[in-house]
């Protein structure tokens, strides 16, 4: 599987026939220096916005306007100020975001796992069509159906809350179904057959035998769903009102509300980004395997 090859350390290609003699060796050395230099330069460029974000977040208000790169004095209190400003509105956004992200993730897992299991394991008429429709709903932009969806939620008097974003997760998420199904297809049929011979029902087979083996894929979809909700802007923008704003929508208003106080805006931005960075470094392998699973064969 492609996902695992990424994670394993690469073996130096010692056997690649090199041009002989010192000229060849020099050329290879220069090539080595060039690739590493380019890669490191690019890595610095990729990190630069994050570094500047951090440096600006700890500057004083005036200093951000002077265009200085390095803070003359370090104002760690900016993070606290960003959190507590406007009666702690950011903490309120954080709470809303967590409600959205946690419930959406739990609901998605409960509803999507059985569907993915059925698509991967059962043979039935219309299975292929169902899979094609899953991919189609996964690919189509959410804006295509947003108008009637909004009207529907307005009739239920649920606009202005996070529920229009959470409730649909009880009914399967196309991307998660797709990714889980791709993974479940790779588990040999024999395991399920053995369980069945031992008298396990289909539900028990799924819960006791197959799901423990699918843990990496389940972890991946859970993380993706959590981050999708954490990052989602379009959904909360449509449905929520200021009391139910999430971090993403709130943050987009932060700069305007705090005008020239770029230090506070950057502190708030960094606080939004930080959990993502921490979780990414803790669960890197899960992420990268998950992404690869979506892109390469079934």
């Amino acid at each position: 599987m492609a996902g695992t090859t990424v994670a394993t350390p690469r073996i130096p290609a010692r056997r690649a026939p090199a041009p002989r003699g010192s000229r060849g060796r020099n050329r290879r050395f220069l090539y080595w220096v060039a690739t590493h230099a380019i890669a490191i330069a690019l890595a610095l460029m990729f990190l630069a916005p994050l570094i500047f974000m951090f440096l600006t977040a700890v500057m004083s208000g005036n200093e951000t306007l002077s265009g200085g790169l390095w803070p003359r004095s370090w104002h760690w209190g900016n993070f606290g100020t960003a959190l507590t400003t406007d009666n702690g509105v950011m903490l309120h956004w954080l709470l809303n975001t967590l409600i959205y992200a946690v419930l959406a993730t739990v609901f998605m897992l409960v509803s999507s796992i059985p569907v993915a299991y059925a698509l991967a394991r059962f043979r039935f008429r219309g299975r292929k069509l169902a899979f094609v429709l899953v991919i189609t709903t996964m690919m189509l932009p959410p804006q295509v159906t947003i108008v009637p969806m909004y009207i529907m939620w307005a009739r239920f008097h649920l606009t202005g809350t996070l529920w229009p974003l959470i409730i649909p997760m009880l009914f399967g998420d196309a991307f998660s179904i797709f990714l889980l199904r791709q993974f479940l297809m790779t588990i040999p049929k024999e395991y399920a057959d053995a369980a069945r011979v031992d008298g396990c029902g289909e539900l028990r087979t799924m819960l006791r035998v197959i799901l423990p083996m699918a843990r990496p894929a389940i972890a991946a979809v859970a993380l993706f769903q959590f981050f999708y909700a954490w990052n989602d802007y379009f959904g909360p923008l449509i449905y929520t009102k200021p009391e139910s704003w999430t971090l993403a929508v709130g943050l987009s208003t932060f700069r305007a509300a705090h005008h020239v106080e770029w230090n506070l805006t950057m502190a708030a931005t960094l606080l939004t980004v930080l959990p993502v960075i921490i979780v990414f470094f803790l669960a890197q392998r899960v992420f990268i395997q998950g992404v690869t699973l979506t892109g390469v064969k079934g």
């Binding site: 990052n231 379009f234 208003t253 805006t265």
Partner: protein
Amino acid sequence: MAAALPVRSVTASRARRRHRLRVLAFMSPWLIGFALFFAYPLAATVYFSFYRYNLFQLTPIGLTNYRFLFKDPYAWQAIKNTLWLVVVMVPLRVLFGLGLAQLLSKIKRGGSILRSIFYLPFLIPPVAATVAFVFVVNPGTGPINGLAAKIGIHLPDWFNDPTWTKPGLTLLALWGIGDVMIILLASLLDVPKSLYEAAAIDGANAWQQFRRITLPTISPVLMFSAVTGVIQTLQYFTQAMVAANASQGNADQAGTTTAPGYPDGASLTFPQTLYNEGFQQFNMGYACVLALVLFVVAMFFTLVLLRQFHAFGDDD
């Protein structure tokens, strides 16, 4: 035998019925979800497109919404902008992602750290990434434009200058290249080593190896990245909207005031006009026409993608 047959077929049909019920039970969340949150709203989109509707009053107006599409300057501006992004941003992202993946595939020590660094910006919440990016390249106080000015390079006023807004958004999209890069890196590492060794023995140089071995092998994945890139770009919304608001300092969460797509309509994407029409002006009928345009175009690319899945041999 005549007596045994009916018994057997009864058990067989009971087993079949149990199987059908089981399939139905496992599939039911998705079946309900598909009907309620996809099929119904899609049909309703078609229905509302023949009406004037502002959440209170529903008036049938025939094809007026469709006719208006051809006269709506915002819609055409948005189509042009979205097309620009599809034509420029998508190919650049695939090329840059391939370049980075190729570079990473050559690096043995420290490769995993570099890979994480290149992947990380993709995970940053788009709103946060955009606000931060608008700040660091802001010409007055932004560190990057400031740094460039010190060494004598005058970078443009990215998000306040209509000509540079879309290139600025493209730069932002290249920063978040992680998804494309990881998929391409995986496919590069999947190319059998023996192919390169054989080619090297035959005297093929690096370019020839890339052209004749790497490209043909990874071309399905390249295609996949390009097509999904197009579909993602059709729904490009958050970054354009947030960049416009952050650089303008607009107090409203959305581009409610004045003309949408600051500066001068340069950042107005197609989903954004849909949002403005439907959820700012409450022309919900007309917004449905825009949604249908989006549906037709996105559906075309989705069909291309589905054929690709076929090519991956997904029909067991």
